[in-house]
Amino acid sequence: MLATFYFYLISILVVILYTILGAITTPLKSAFLIDATGHTIIFGMVIGFLISHSFNSPLLFIGAVISTLLMNNLNNFLQKYLKLSYDSSIGMSFSLFFCLGVIILSIFAKHIHFDLDMLLVGNIEYSLYDAIYIFNLFFIPKIVFLLIFFIILLLYILYIFYYQIIMILFDSEYALIRGIDVKYITSIILIYASLAIVCSFNVTGALVLMGIATSSFGLYWNNNSKSFFNFIKKGLTYNIIIALIGCTLAIYFDFPIAATISFLSATFPILIFIFNEIKVFIYDLIFIK
């Protein structure tokens, strides 16, 4: 009973985190930044795991941040000297780290059994085990605290740099001329993103991150907003509802929760679009002959 409540709570928290983060990173560069970060941190986490031999050590976080920063530098390096578009260069940068991570994992960690599915899709159930127990009856999973902390941190970053972030997202060249330190703010966001992704790794897995961040695509879907604040508000409303529905369906059918939520997040817009097109098509057929 309490576990079900925590499933819902954790899904909602994760969705809130990635909606806001997606809203910032999606216009910032390409939509794939979160996905790329998720793949890159596997390298850092593998190295951290090999040094510390534990899944809970802070070395995993540090490794994740370092590998994200390295990937970002490699991305800028390739873009500058090979004159690539952003998509191509980030695709190659994160693949380098992902390949190295998988190779190192197969060399050194052959004897360690790790759940492939958890890597891919995440498993919320496991995160419930690592909890703080009160009176032997009531427990709060540590991940809830972590997620709430990261959401508050993100809101704080947004509060301090709100106007700067909007200017960078809208017109980065202008922001540069007006004296905004674009590199500094971008690296803060990147470091934050890598930490937050490591934290929620348990819940979402590496590959479904893209799906959760699909919420930001949903934001662009009916983009009539004229203010970044309303944009985020609309996105949050939509995604929290999707998270609730998705969690219910996932629990009922015993699907992985993160995968269901991201699947639904994309399904409704696409279904509505298809129904609309069919309606228009039938209308034309009947009335216009």
Binding site: T26, S30, A31, F32, D35, H39, L74, F77, L78, Y81, L82, K83, L84, S85, D87, S88, G91, M92, S95, L96, F98, C99, L100, V102, I103, S106, I107, K110, L116, D117, L120, V121, L207, V208, M210, G211, T214, F217, Y220, W221, D254, F255, P256, A259, T260, S262, F263, A266, T267, P269, I270, F273, E277
Partner: protein, 275 residues
Amino acid sequence: MLIYSLIPNLIILSIAIGFPIGFLSSYLVVRRWSLLGDIISHASLPGITYSFLFYKSNNTFYLLIGGILSSIVSVILSFILQKYKNLPKDSSFGLVLSWFFTFGMIGISILQKANVEGQYIINSFIFGNILTFPFKDIYWKIFICFFISILFLFSIKIQKMITFDPCFSSLRYKYSELWDCLLLVSGITIICLCLQIVGILLIGTLIISPGVIAKVLTNSYGKMILLSIFISILSFIGGVIISMRFTFLPTGPLIALIPILIAIFIAFKRYLKEK
């Protein structure tokens, strides 16, 4: 010993696959659809998973057909979204990619609960495993690769026309849109054929890298195709041989790593030149 006897077969396969991948890579890069490789590979997962669930057979033929069909649907959907909903290109690609891929993930979890035999084959599609590649089918696969390479080779002029200005070419030449679809479908086929060697997660980079490197080195489309073919054959052969020598290493990352290292090397050379 058994493994080493496969090497001649593998080298022939690498060369045979390297050609169409090189063609496809340069076409997609010039057409500015470099993400399409990623979408096609990720979107093939539900086709593979659900056809496995449906047929309950280990025959990869059914899995491949399923994968190809679902990739075709995903590409059509993403282009419809771009056209009728005016969604920006990246957003439509990303939306379709995650939708299909998460749909496939759900399928995998259904599979696990259904406890069907031989599910490990799905993992070999996701991560790539040269040892599970069915060598008895190698001849018709090489034939398909050859046919697709010929298709690309004969349509180079049309490709140049389409990539430069798609609207103009569709007005000027009746069949240009048909060729576009044909080349895309061939590309989807060849990507699905490679899935078992390289894996879904990494084939996206393998499609981008040879074309991107070739584009950096030359301005002519013909030379770019040759270079990209050369790089992709090199990556396949290199990755396969290293993977055969060290069998505990997964093939996919090794193959995908080689073009990226070449790109970093070229960028580094330019960096030194600038200094």
